[in-house]
Symmetry: C2
Subunit: 114 residues, 2 copies
């Protein structure tokens, strides 16, 4: 019966867990920096959209992004449903930023439109 | 008044938008592949935890991850609150995976514990 009994978490297991967690921490740092760069791009998109009266959200662009990411996720063996939920989570934040930029530019836009 | 009127989105604006969107798409592909690699690590963590009867969630580890990511986000000029929400979103998915792995290993574990 001893062979089927789960082992306690000894030093080897702790070391393996620490090794994996170091990799996870490195990946997280990379993702944070990629997303910081992504928001720099979307901030520029937001300013362009506000300056040219384009709507903050763009459903056809978003549909295309989601289809592409689902396909990329599948080939990377990442759950496509998770990738889609994640992109929606990020896009929701981006739209909030765009709305804020549009609101900040709002007075001028309303003045010129009125 | 023509100088303050928002410009229509002409070819230059469209080109600039396309340039920014290409960068966003490249970053998204990178993030998807980083996260695929992250889930490979967390799957291994899940198997280790299941084999050694460690709980799927680890609040002290998560608190440490969140504090670290908030600090990284701040130095990268990414909203720390957004980074924290994103990490919680990813961790929730990871815990679901760990629970599934533990459930799959459950019968054996219950047998040996019983």
């Amino acid at each position: 019966m001893t062979t089927s009994k789960p082992q306690e978490a000894g030093p080897d297991v702790r070391a393996e867990l620490a090794r994996l967690r170091d990799s996870i921490d490195n990946i997280d740092a990379a993702v944070v920096h990629m997303l910081a760069e992504r928001f720099k791009c979307t901030q520029q998109v937001g300013h362009l959209k506000a300056a040219h009266h384009l709507p903050p959200a763009d459903p056809s662009r978003e549909a295309h992004q989601i289809a592409r990411l689902r396909s990329l996720a599948e080939s990377a063996k990442l759950d496509p449903a998770f990738a889609e939920k994640l992109l929606n989570f990020i896009i929701a934040e981006v739209i909030r930023h765009h709305e804020r930029i549009a609101d900040d530019a709002g007075t001028t836009a309303a003045d010129t439109a009125g």
